[in-house]
Symmetry: D3
Subunit: 321 residues, 6 copies
Amino acid sequence: MSAIPWQERPENTNDILWRYSENPIIDRYAIPTSNSIFNSAVVPFGDGYAGVFRCDNKAVQMNIHAGFSKDGIQWDIEAQPIQMKAGNTNMIASDYKYDPRVTYIEDRYWVTWCNGYHGPTIGIAYTYDFKTFYQCENAFLPFNRNGVLFPKKINGKYAMLSRPSDNGHTPFGDIYLSYSPDMKYWGEHRCVMKATPFEDSAWQCTKIGAGPVPIETEAGWLLIYHGVITTCNGFRYAMGAALLHKENPDQVLYRTQSYLLGPAVSYEQIGDVPNVVFPCAALHDSKDDKIAIYYGAADTVVALAFGYISEIVQYTKDNSL
Amino acid sequence: MSAIPWQERPENTNDILWRYSENPIIDRYAIPTSNSIFNSAVVPFGDGYAGVFRCDNKAVQMNIHAGFSKDGIQWDIEAQPIQMKAGNTNMIASDYKYDPRVTYIEDRYWVTWCNGYHGPTIGIAYTYDFKTFYQCENAFLPFNRNGVLFPKKINGKYAMLSRPSDNGHTPFGDIYLSYSPDMKYWGEHRCVMKATPFEDSAWQCTKIGAGPVPIETEAGWLLIYHGVITTCNGFRYAMGAALLHKENPDQVLYRTQSYLLGPAVSYEQIGDVPNVVFPCAALHDSKDDKIAIYYGAADTVVALAFGYISEIVQYTKDNSL
Amino acid sequence: MSAIPWQERPENTNDILWRYSENPIIDRYAIPTSNSIFNSAVVPFGDGYAGVFRCDNKAVQMNIHAGFSKDGIQWDIEAQPIQMKAGNTNMIASDYKYDPRVTYIEDRYWVTWCNGYHGPTIGIAYTYDFKTFYQCENAFLPFNRNGVLFPKKINGKYAMLSRPSDNGHTPFGDIYLSYSPDMKYWGEHRCVMKATPFEDSAWQCTKIGAGPVPIETEAGWLLIYHGVITTCNGFRYAMGAALLHKENPDQVLYRTQSYLLGPAVSYEQIGDVPNVVFPCAALHDSKDDKIAIYYGAADTVVALAFGYISEIVQYTKDNSL
Amino acid sequence: MSAIPWQERPENTNDILWRYSENPIIDRYAIPTSNSIFNSAVVPFGDGYAGVFRCDNKAVQMNIHAGFSKDGIQWDIEAQPIQMKAGNTNMIASDYKYDPRVTYIEDRYWVTWCNGYHGPTIGIAYTYDFKTFYQCENAFLPFNRNGVLFPKKINGKYAMLSRPSDNGHTPFGDIYLSYSPDMKYWGEHRCVMKATPFEDSAWQCTKIGAGPVPIETEAGWLLIYHGVITTCNGFRYAMGAALLHKENPDQVLYRTQSYLLGPAVSYEQIGDVPNVVFPCAALHDSKDDKIAIYYGAADTVVALAFGYISEIVQYTKDNSL
Amino acid sequence: MSAIPWQERPENTNDILWRYSENPIIDRYAIPTSNSIFNSAVVPFGDGYAGVFRCDNKAVQMNIHAGFSKDGIQWDIEAQPIQMKAGNTNMIASDYKYDPRVTYIEDRYWVTWCNGYHGPTIGIAYTYDFKTFYQCENAFLPFNRNGVLFPKKINGKYAMLSRPSDNGHTPFGDIYLSYSPDMKYWGEHRCVMKATPFEDSAWQCTKIGAGPVPIETEAGWLLIYHGVITTCNGFRYAMGAALLHKENPDQVLYRTQSYLLGPAVSYEQIGDVPNVVFPCAALHDSKDDKIAIYYGAADTVVALAFGYISEIVQYTKDNSL
Amino acid sequence: MSAIPWQERPENTNDILWRYSENPIIDRYAIPTSNSIFNSAVVPFGDGYAGVFRCDNKAVQMNIHAGFSKDGIQWDIEAQPIQMKAGNTNMIASDYKYDPRVTYIEDRYWVTWCNGYHGPTIGIAYTYDFKTFYQCENAFLPFNRNGVLFPKKINGKYAMLSRPSDNGHTPFGDIYLSYSPDMKYWGEHRCVMKATPFEDSAWQCTKIGAGPVPIETEAGWLLIYHGVITTCNGFRYAMGAALLHKENPDQVLYRTQSYLLGPAVSYEQIGDVPNVVFPCAALHDSKDDKIAIYYGAADTVVALAFGYISEIVQYTKDNSL
């Protein structure tokens, strides 16, 4: 793996997270058919990076595309959406695919996404090479979104965060944890984190959802997540962080009362859905404490933010709800 | 098992299902604390019957109570709700319990119900004696209702119908099938039946849900289910029937376009929720072709309807959507 | 025409309209397939009466059936819905038909009803014999309900009242007038009567709609209409009366502030939709001043109310909004 | 004052409150213009009783009428609504009046009601004789309902319970307390009781509102109040009780988890608004421990229930939330 | 007619439609009283162009103004709204006027617009000179919007597309066709095109409406139309194209699955209603295959887009739903 | 007091109000913890100015902070929110504080704001020095917003404008006037101004609310207020003016049909809530006729607009509804 994308913190700020100065890194029209490319996931792959990208085409059909990059910033995204093969099931029907996450567990890359099967639920697939993808059973019944796997088994089982929802622009949403012995059957569902009372932390009072794959730290699993407030002009998405118990990640150790990054620059405030930052992936280099967070901006483009893991962890502890 | 409750079809009707003349069989105040007793389940037990009853108390808290009967009509319902012991999990928290179903599989009785865990989901418990109940992991993430087990394993796995919903008076709802190897982890979720277009069959156009445990017949699994229409004065619940493929019960072979029984007498039309018939259990005697359906009426009392299985099967085939 | 149905006013009341003591005159199960029979229209025909009846079948599909009666009270309703032939168009597609009205103009009987064509609109057909019906072009674009023809041409043109609506349980609704030279093209649309401010007359504050075909009197066109209030438990339908200008019936001369008949007996208060009286037809005998109003009760059955035309006219004048 | 209306508890029940066997005591058509008479208030007056009655006329305009009775059961209600004179203000405009309460304080009878002034708020008037009424300033800004005065000054000030609401069929509502030195200016607003979490006591989970004027007991102010649950077919109103601190009645000492009386007989279940019991007044005879509660039933008629004050107090203590 | 406005396709794009580099061509404050000028219509007139412009004034009252231009880009818009004279009716009342379209048929210019008559419906007027306008009968009953005439009679009758709606920010909407022999009475209503299933083409899944007057081509009537998607932050309007059968224009031959132009630049993304492109007129020069589309941007200004008719036709055929 | 902030009208406009060229004057991140600073109030204080600022922190908790300025443009805002001391009550609980106004009456500065006490209501406090603040009883029961005091007693009583609301993004709202003898008890509530019919003045058709403290002029009390229209993409806030009767300010003498300033530049159109201008304070210098209006822009920053009082008064008279 090459060095993760990085820029030092600008001199005029103490913010825990800061934006890449060349944002957005992926334009809405980066592939010929796209209306928008956002809410996408990347992982180290070979000597560079691979990713799964949400590309809405100009019919505004949602699908996921593979992509490759040497530096994590310049991306070659496949013009065609991923064509799935049968994994642990032949039932790989899908009305739409969006908001992918990717993680490597044991011997392969696992992709999860919001999969259209009589409404949104959590699709699962694996790949060894980002060329051939094997789709598995949907994790859950509809309606669900933001299915995010932990990057290793916990207590011998796969573990997934998700957010039960409805079949529209869901006005509620909490984060749950589920386990599976085999990526086919899921159970032991636990409520992990709920949307907050308005008075306590309004930016996350409508709904919350897991963002990038959790990162293992000394202090627990570091979960970057999005939170939503309902203004009189619609939803506004920001991002915060939580620390989950390492062995029992349904226990929240700390959780930021303040957001870490909210919509405040033009590519986050203007677009198909104004005022959205939506993190879906993070590259991190534990050795030198850096993290690069990939987030969709205004449901239109992909942007990058940077930070130091230790600072995020400390801030989360110090400013917890 | 004693003979199931039974009355012959009245002379003046050709209806496929007919009401018991002494309905309702269980009054709203049948136990000292109850506001209403309805949507309840019964099975043969010993030389009589046992059941699990939805009793809303006068605080209108919803809970399930065990009960026993010699003839299936006169019931002794426990004054106290069922106290669960830990089954395959220690997480047996429950904010409320309602709309139980019961079936015997292999060596024990399984109870499923709508279980309050951060919203409605499907609770599971087993008992050998209707005295001690062992609660297992919830089958699914919230939000779900009307979880109904098949009375035997299918392809070596437990099989459950359910209806994903939201956390209110859900204005939608289709029936899904899920499998489990062990009553702990569930997967292979399939859409079985959907609410119908208004023009085709309006009584079931808002939502549908499985009723009693399916009955195995030559023609397939006989599923009595409820359907809902939204009038300008609220929901109206009626019941119909479907035949599901024996080996692959996510395939609907036939499904009644007309309802079999709809609210039309005073205890169905007047009560805490007017215009509801909600079937939750059925006793049947395959030998002499009889079925006795237990249904909640007006969300207030329990009533009985009768029919011949062969006639229901034939009617379902002849009047299918 | 035989004498219209009639009963004298009960001794203990001064009400302007009073109910038939043998109500309901048509039961919900009067034909083998019906779930309910209500909101129906009748006219003198031969030496008796003919009618067009709304019969929802047990799939709760809405359709209209022809029927015949000698006395206007005992009705023979055809078991099969009316099969339309092409009238002034070949486009006679219909997803559903309900709430018919019937009137005789010049040489034939005209039927109007709420016709399902991509949502509710006003269907038109004519018949000479209530055996063969010729369907014409829909009068209007969707969404519309309660299309009611005047019983003769006005200023040389056909005239129809209707109530523009939406495609659900419309929470608004005013009465409009439209003209046609030929029963094919319609125009000169005028707003006639609107729902009232809550403070002035709450029973008709949500929406109103024309009922029976208007009756020509010295004082103007007598229009019986329904009005709706939205209670915390849904809609409640009552009926009132208005007098419209004879030559320019978009002018309201008088209109009852009070309802004339509201839901107050069991067959109006209990049924598929509680608390509905919905008038669709009236037989009148101008010679002896009598009127017999046919109304749907609780969206379930057909009932009759009686009154004296002169009293209704006088009351409308004396108690006008 | 004559003996309050009374019937002993029926032999077959242990209920804390029981219904009068001749209910309803006032029919919907008890005065010539009325559509319904319900939610009304009575007090001892002279050697009998006087009251203020909510009479909706047949235009369904809401108003309050004076009435008189010798025994509290047979009532003579004035055919004309109360005509107000100017009390402490000339601004006595009113779009509608409903749900009155009456109490005697110091030297006169005070009436409060829901008063239409650009939406519902709390109207206040006083009378010495139930013939001449003097209207005062509205207590609060819109939107408010269920304003109920304490029967004596507390800490030297008038005290009123009320329920802030919106301008429709408010889906929320808690009970607040406000003080006034002079019946003109109000302040020191305190939240007293809130609607309950669904899981704890569903019958009062949508909204609550004060009922009759509180009764002073050794154990505190006894408040009979109504609570509402939202079923899939609308609101259902039941009644419970609370004990408030004598000197600081914004403190709730006890409050019933269960309702004391819920809709369960036909005149409560059937009517203009099904499933409503709505208490607005209570006569009590502290000497012999009896209470007679007047409540509106189904928004259509007035009914009576009886109980022993000491039993209600004890039950409230023993079954408190 | 002078040459239509034109700019060649920018070199860096293959888009079928491209924006004018000097957009917007009409600013929101182009006349002294205006808050915004958008959704407007133009036609060749004399040796230049005339138009009818939607100008919302600073009271945000909606009205239509005449305007003139030599080149189709620089416009002189009348400061005063059009004052209508009586055309085929004296009923020319209008609460508001917006979203005009203009076309020349036979001997005069016809203007259609959304006309406020107890809610939105379709207003019609004609003019010979854009100085004097004669208002005719409204085409339809309320509620309707986006009435667009074909530029010549079809089968001897005037033909109009429209979109039945409700009286608010209608969340549904399909395109219908109606005929009139005389611009007074309308009938033969046919459903032409519906909003699409979300999965197939989400940009047009909430509602659609006809844009400019259809253009006759060899391949059929070319209809530019708008489509709307509901995001969590409101409606987003884009434009696409369809080809309708020449003789029976209720038949859709082809229809673009992808939009042709969606909000993507600042004057489309920012304004009184963000994310709106709303086409209302098109100048075309069939000889040299060019089309210039006038569209409202962000409900605030008027902008121009260009394309080649043959390319649009071909694209529509090749990328049809 | 130093000279109020001022810039002359730009040469290219005749607008009654014009923006400060260096807007916004306070950035969203002006204090370390802030997410946004907007809707704030200022008054002359000492030889400069003091203010109370709405600062939402990065948890999006709403609070008010004191601030000081020499010129009214450069502001030092306290990093910590105001800590209240007990004024005329010990009940100074507050879930949140926002949208403050400030005025000097007799001997002290009074602050009013939207105070969270079981929902939004009007909080009141006084200060002599903007260092120590004494919180008083809330003026009203919930739910209320936009409480604005007159700058002197009227008829010997304090007078406050307010806008009764609900507990969400209230879709309605009119301005009322209330009086208090003592800043503790309030009464004599009068409706002053209502939202307008859509046809008359759509920018203020959803709701209205008082802005800065009214300014006494020869022509009456000059009230700058905000008005809201509901577009398909949410609320849009603009500002207008009214003149209220000097002695009886519940009488509206004139009221602008057009808005005076609406969202039209980027800092008003882009931000946490796009398209908001929300005036909360005005400095004026009656001697030289100038006014400087402070308004929140896009719920994100504070901006300034200027005008001449005499022109505003004249315009209000000349362009009144």
